[in-house]
Symmetry: none
Subunit: 421 residues, 2 copies
């Protein structure tokens, strides 16, 4: 079995929007052993779309289409689909209810556009859209599976997870490909490679890829086998050998963010956290509050961007800022202790640094960041340089601050400097 | 004239690498008036590559191929090209010199692989590679222009700028295509379409696309003309007609975020801002501090996630929370007034809501968010429902809060409810 992915949208052809949808779909299909042999982008042009539909069903067993399902004039996918399958549009009660629910919740009046969105091709099984008004469509004809989804990434992703992948999984027999990602942070790629040593000895027939990013290095293991149990067993063995050499750097298995791991740890240990941010500007709080249930442990995050705010909300002595500067070990420690005390939390962390592009000096260059961890019994202060790109400095600093807490909670030795690239 | 872009590489088909090359090439071609009508990705498979070459030359005047030119076993593009053009490989002195230069600079010994890379198809004009060993190739046959480049982005980009674009520009006899994006927020796509009315009357020969996202709807205008001045003038005219109908929703021209617009406005008016966040968890602060110079106006961002933090840092009366709940107009107003006063800022804004997935009730469902703006003379409170997806709720709430401040600063009528999809 193979697949042909079609992305519809002029904005991709002119390079304005990256084709992240095709990448996501290709990845998900590869996991269930249906390789995408083709990825095509065409514009919002009915004739070209129809030509592509025809070619796709000739070359592949599974066709996945995204984009062009909105309510405006430039969205032509649905009418092209009707022509291609020689079918007409009929109202669908469930789809209409979903649209009504969304419109009501947002206090929008019912419009002709909404009425139109509730129509579905007669030959299609509608795919429920939890996050938007345009339903997906699933066709089966001549042994081919043909799926159409909206181009809005989170709407499409939910449909893939909930409907498309479960349906397609049932169709594949034979060779199974499985991937597993181990996420590390606090160690640069070259150091991690050195620690792991001989790759063939680690993988023994599986494959290993190093995928570096500002948040850390992802290790992707790929194994192939006749059954998923066998493939998983291979992955288990490789993971075990990797952990023997680099366990402490691994904060998650799978595409899980550090904030998820940290939230779980804090909730398990029933500890509360308070944060004092300066150069990260709220990013740590934002990342932690992306996780449902973070209200159980996160009491407050004080973004004390000005010196006055550091004094007022965190009780940092003005004299300390005057003497050492806002970006200093002394002020960072006072911030962590201050936020821990004022918020009444078990753990206080602070981040203060120079994100740039301006504000650097020879002694305190752009990229310099102090991160402090404080609990009832100890205070740990670490100094970093995260480079000269503002957004990367924020990203790396937020990652290092959370990793510091994770390592403290797990009693992991901090002798080695934390780093995130 | 039109183009067909082919990207070769298994890593793209499995979603491991984003197809940034096609986006770059599509954008560059659009600027010189050669629209990319197709973007295709195929794997490192000679047969599939040959099929694609054939189709591309049938459907387009210009074919641009990247990827699969490296020295390893899985790079099959060059041999496919030779078969397609029925030609053989011959050594090229200039190409060899370039490879020697690179190898010497990196202190690498001369290898068989290097010798092999110095071969070029007899029918091709080699394209010099300043940054790597694999040369590009340029073919002209039967009136078609066929270009093959390495997949390494910076190697490809240099070849595009130095060789491909200058060559192709001569062929288009001046037809220029220009795009302009107007970013709107606070109005759903269908309402915006209604306000703009008849699209043909607006565009008069140009094209208009609606691109919705959780942060708002982007309007992309595309105009074609003989000179860039003429195209820009067309864009100006369409923009003017759009602004006559929907000016107040437009916060930026081009791919600029709302936080950039707002930062500029606050700095121009020399006003300071303090934020009290609850459900957005630091996202507003994070977004604003992504902008260099935000320290000039942003005094503090208090993420008061717990009730105690609202009382302690923002002076919200405990009785108010007890009586109305943390997500209420009353508490939202107390938060905005509280942060404005404690931080000593000109403007205070607050956000409190239920991001979900739990915590909702029939009276206060998940997605309910109160946003308040307070300055010395007035307090404005708005109630929203941003749906049931946690990250989207945060994203939409952060956008609406910033948009509320923008509209207040510009004295834009707030009678219509703000919305962000």
């Amino acid at each position: 079995m193979n697949a042909y992915i079609i992305t519809i949208g002029d904005e991709i052809l002119i390079g304005q929007v990256m084709n992240t949808n095709a990448a996501f779909i290709g990845e998900k299909l590869s996991y269930i052993g249906i390789p995408a042999d083709y990825m095509m982008v065409v514009g919002d042009d009915e004739e070209k779309i129809l030509t592509e539909f025809k070619r796709a069903t000739e070359l592949a067993d599974v066709v996945i289409v995204t984009g062009g399902l909105g309510p405006t004039h430039d969205d032509v996918t649905r009418s092209a689909v009707c022509k291609f399958f020689d079918t007409n549009l009929i109202p669908d009660g469930e789809v209409r209810k979903n649209i009504e629910r969304l419109m009501q919740r947002r206090n929008y009046p019912w419009t002709q556009a909404a009425e139109n969105q509730a129509l579905v091709p007669r030959k299609a099984t509608p795919i429920h859209n939890h996050h938007g008004t345009a339903p997906g469509m699933w066709f089966e004809e001549n042994g081919k599976h043909f799926c159409v989804m909206p181009g809005v990434p989170y709407e499409m992703k939910a449909m893939m997870e909930d409907f498309v992948i479960p349906r397609l999984s049932k169709l594949t027999h034979g060779m199974i490909i499985r991937h597993r990602v181990l996420k590390t942070t606090g160690i640069p790629e070259s150091f991690l490679a050195q620690k792991l040593g001989d790759v063939d000895g680690l993988t023994k027939g599986a494959r290993l890829a190093f995928l570096p990013s500002p948040k850390g290095v992802r290790l992707r293991i790929t194994a192939q086998a006749l059954t998923s149990e066998e493939a998983d067993q291979k992955l288990d063995e490789v993971e075990k050998r990797i952990r023997e050499k680099a366990d402490k750097y691994i904060y998650a298995v799978g595409e899980i963010e550090l904030e998820v791991t940290l939230s779980k740890l804090l909730n398990e240990k029933q500890l509360t956290l308070a944060i004092a941010e300066s150069c990260t500007g709220g990013l740590i709080g934002d990342r932690l509050t992306n996780i449902p249930g973070s209200s159980t442990f996160l009491l407050a995050d004080i973004v004390a961007y000005s010196n006055d705010a550091k004094i007022k909300y965190l009780n940092v002595p003005a004299s300390l800022i005057k003497e050492h500067g806002a970006v200093s070990k002394e002020v960072a420690e006072a911030m962590a202790l201050g936020v821990r005390k004022t918020a009444g939390a078990d753990i206080g962390i602070s981040v203060t640094g120079i994100a740039g592009p301006s504000g650097g000096t020879p002694e305190k260059p752009v990229g310099l960041v102090w991160i402090v961890y404080a609990d009832a019994s100890e205070t740990v202060s670490l100094k970093f340089n995260f480079g000269d790109e503002r957004i990367r400095v924020k990203e790396r600093a937020s990652q290092a601050a959370m990793e510091l807490v994770r390592r403290k909670l797990l009693n992991i030795n901090l002798a080695e400097q934390l780093s995130t690239d």
